[in-house]
C-alpha cells in the first residue's frame, strides 16, 4: 500500500553531473550521429516525455495507470485529423489543441477512475484505454485498424515567416529536445511545490491526508489530467515524426512499455523516467537485432529478453538505474574518504 522507502526525489550531485553530461551529449549528438540514429534518439526523447508524464502518476502519486497510452495516441490522432490532405497545418494552434484534447480526455476519464484504488485503479484505467482503442480500431471514419497518415509535418510559419522547419530531421530533434527539457523543468518544479508535496503525501498515506483536510480527489484528478496532457505532447511529437498514427499507439502494450520505462529508470523524480525511456528503447534496438541461432531467431523474441532484464533489474536494483547509480556513487564517495 505505502512505499516504505522514500523516492529518490532530491538528486545527489553525482546524478546531476551524469544528467548534465547526458544533456551535453544530446545537444551534440546530431552533429556526430548518422540521420538514422538522430531519428532514433528523437524517438527516445519522445518516449522520455511520455514516461515522465506517467511518472507523475506512478512514481509521485502512486497511481499505476495501465491505460496511459490512450492519451498519447489521442493527441497523435488529433494531429492527423487537423492536418488537411494537401498541405501542412500550423504548429502553433494544433499543438495546444492536441495537448488540450488529451488533457480533456484524461479529465473526463479521470473523473471516474481516480475514485478507485490499487488493483481496481489499474483495471479501470486499462478498461477505459481499451474502449478508446476499439473506438478507433472499429471505426473506418477514424482510420480503423490501418490508422491515419499525417501527410505533412506541422508548419512553424508565423504570417509567412518561418523560424524553423520540422521537416528537417535535425530541427525536429532539437524541437523535441526543447520539449523534453521544458517538460522536465516543469515537472521538477511541480514536484517540490505544495501541489507536488501533496501528491507524494497521497502516495504514502492517503488516509492521513484526508484526515488532515486534503480533498484528495481533486488533487488526484488534477495529476491525472496533467499527466494525460503531457502524454499528449509526446503523442503529438510522435505523429509529427512518424507521419503515421494507428490504434496500437493507444494499446495495452504501449501503456505497459511506459510502466517498464519508469521502473527501469527509477520512479518519482522524472530523471529516472528519462533514463528508463532511453535504456528501454536502446535495449529494444539491441534485442531486436539479436542473430538467428540454429533454428531460433533470438531477435524475434525480444520481449522475452526484455522481460528477463527487467526482472533481474527489479531484483537487484529496485530503485532502477538511477538508484543503482546513486548507490554506486555514494559507496565510491565513501571509500574515497
Amino acid at each position: 500500500m505505502s512505499a516504505q522507502q522514500a523516492n529518490l526525489e532530491k538528486l545527489p550531485t553525482s546524478i546531476k553531473l551524469v544528467l548534465g553530461m547526458g544533456l551535453v551529449a544530446l545537444l551534440a549528438f546530431p552533429f556526430v550521429g548518422t540521420p538514422f540514429y538522430t531519428e532514433m534518439v528523437t524517438r527516445m526523447m519522445i518516449m522520455a516525455i511520455f514516461a515522465m508524464s506517467l511518472d507523475l502518476l506512478q512514481g509521485v502519486t502512486g497511481l499505476v495507470s495501465l491505460g496511459h497510452a490512450a492519451y498519447f495516441g489521442l493527441a497523435g490522432y488529433a494531429l492527423a485529423f487537423l492536418t488537411p490532405q494537401g498541405e501542412a497545418v500550423s504548429l502553433w494552434w494544433t499543438l495546444p489543441v492536441a495537448v488540450l484534447a488529451s488533457g480533456l480526455a484524461a479529465l473526463i476519464i479521470g473523473f471516474f477512475v481516480v475514485r478507485t484504488h490499487g488493483i481496481y485503479f489499474i483495471m479501470v484505467t486499462m478498461a477505459f484505454a481499451q474502449m478508446v482503442y476499439y473506438v478507433f480500431f472499429d471505426n473506418r471514419a477514424l482510420g480503423g485498424s490501418d490508422g491515419l497518415y499525417v501527410n505533412f509535418k506541422p508548419s512553424a510559419a508565423i504570417f509567412g515567416w518561418v523560424p524553423f522547419d520540422l521537416d528537417s530531421k535535425r530541427t525536429l530533434y532539437y524541437f523535441t529536445l526543447g520539449a523534453l527539457l521544458l517538460t522536465y523543468i516543469f515537472l521538477r518544479r511541480l514536484l517540490f511545490s505544495p501541489f507536488g508535496r501533496t501528491l507524494s503525501g497521497i502516495r504514502v498515506n492517503e488516509h492521513r491526508m484526508r484526515a488532515m483536510g486534503y480533498g484528495v480527489f481533486g488533487y488526484k484528478l488534477a495529476a491525472f489530467t496533467v499527466a494525460g496532457a503531457l502524454a499528449g505532447l509526446a503523442g503529438y511529437l510522435w505523429g509529427t515524426q512518424t507521419g503515421y498514427i494507428n490504434p496500437e499507439l493507444m494499446g495495452f502494450h504501449m501503456s505497459a512499455h511506459a510502466i517498464m520505462m519508469v521502473i527501469l529508470g527509477g520512479m518519482g523524480n522524472f530523471a529516472g523516467a528519462i533514463v528508463g525511456a532511453f535504456a528501454f528503447e536502446y535495449l529494444l534496438h539491441v534485442f531486436k537485432d539479436l542473430p538467428q541461432v540454429g533454428s531460433v531467431n533470438l531477435g524475434k523474441h525480444w520481449q522475452l529478453w526484455m522481460g528477463l532484464f527487467i526482472v533481474l533489474l527489479v531484483m537487484f536494483a529496485p530503485r532502477g538505474i538511477l538508484g543503482l547509480v546513486e548507490k554506486f556513487m555514494t559507496r565510491k564517495g565513501k571509500s574515497d574518504e
Binding site: 511545490s193 503525501g201 483536510g213 480533498g215
Partner: protein, 250 residues
C-alpha cells in the same frame, strides 16, 4: 463551564446487528479534557471515528460549533477545525519529521494548490510547523526519517501533525499506547500543555494518565455509556468497578 465546541447527540453506529456505538451523547468544551474509557471492544475508537467522519453514523448528529457536520467527509471536517490522532501510528514513514508536519501545516495554507512555487517558501506554513514541533518536543528530530524514530517519538509526531492543522477540537485515540513510563509522563505533560486552547476527547487505556488528565470521564461498555462524571464520581461508581473487573460478558 467553558464554551461548547463539539456536540454529539444520540450517536449510533450499527455493523449489521451489532451496535458498536449505541445512543452516545458527548459535549466537548474548550480548555477541557473529556476522557472515554472502557474495556476492549467498548466502541471508543468507533466513537472517535464517528466524530471525525472516518465512519458515517447510522443515526444521531454531530455539530462542530454551530455547524452540523453529520455525514461530512473527514477532509471537510478537518478543515472545519477538528483534528485527530490515531491509535495505530498513522504517519508518513518514509518522510522526515519536518516533512510530516509540513504536510499537516500546508493543508491550512490558502495557496496549497500552487504548482510552481517551492513548498518550503511559505512563511506562514513554516511558523505553524515550528510551533507544532516545539510544542511536541521534537526539535532534535526534525531531520530524522519518521520510520526510524522511537515509538514514543512517533506518538509525539502524531500529536505534532494534529496540532499543525490548528484544530479547535482534538480527538486523541490512545496517544499513550505502547509507551514506557518515562515517555508516558512526558506525553501527559504535553497533553496538559495543549489543553489550554482546545477541546479534547481522549480515548485511553492508561488509567493513571486518564485520572491525571481528565476533567470529565465517560465509561463505555458494549457500545453504551454506563457512567459519566468527574474522575472522583467515576472512581466511586460501582457499575464501573464491575465492568473493569470483567464481570461484563464481552
Amino acid at each position: 463551564m467553558n464554551e461548547v465546541l463539539l456536540t454529539a447527540k444520540n450517536l449510533t453506529k450499527r455493523f449489521g446487528g451489532l451496535a458498536a456505538v449505541d445512543n452516545v451523547s458527548v459535549d466537548l468544551y474548550r480548555n477541557h479534557i473529556h476522557a472515554v474509557i472502557g474495556p476492549n471492544g467498548a466502541g471508543k475508537s468507533t466513537l472517535a471515528n464517528l466524530l471525525s467522519g472516518d465512519l458515517p453514523p447510522t443515526s444521531g448528529t454531530v455539530a462542530l460549533g454551530n455547524t452540523d457536520i453529520t455525514g461530512w467527509t473527514p477532509e471537510k471536517i478537518s478543515r472545519q477545525g477538528l483534528g485527530r490522532s490515531y491509535q495505530k501510528t498513522n504517519i508518513f514513514l518514509p518522510f522526515t519529521v519536518w516533512d510530516n508536519v509540513h504536510l499537516a501545516a500546508q493543508s491550512r495554507a490558502p495557496k496549497a494548490h500552487k504548482w510552481l512555487t517551492n513548498a518550503s517558501d511559505f512563511i506562514a506554513t513554516r511558523a505553524r510547523i515550528e510551533r507544532a514541533i516545539e510544542l511536541s518536543g521534537l526539535q532534535n528530530r526534525v531531520k530524522s526519517i519518521a520510520g526510524t524514530i522511537s515509538h514514543g517519538e512517533q506518538r509525539q509526531l502524531e500529536i505534532a501533525m494534529t496540532l499543525a492543522t490548528e484544530p479547535q477540537v482534538i480527538l486523541l485515540d490512545e496517544p499513550l499506547a505502547g509507551m514506557g513510563a518515562v515517555e508516558a509522563e512526558s506525553m501527559v505533560t504535553l497533553l496538559l500543555a495543549i489543553k489550554k486552547d482546545h477541546a479534547i476527547l481522549l480515548v485511553e487505556h492508561d488509567m493513571d494518565a486518564v485520572f491525571a488528565l481528565a476533567d470529565t470521564l465517560t465509561v463505555m461498555v458494549n457500545g453504551q455509556v454506563i457512567a459519566s462524571g468527574t474522575p472522583a464520581e467515576i472512581r466511586a461508581d460501582a457499575g464501573v468497578q464491575a465492568a473493569y473487573l470483567g464481570e461484563e460478558h464481552v
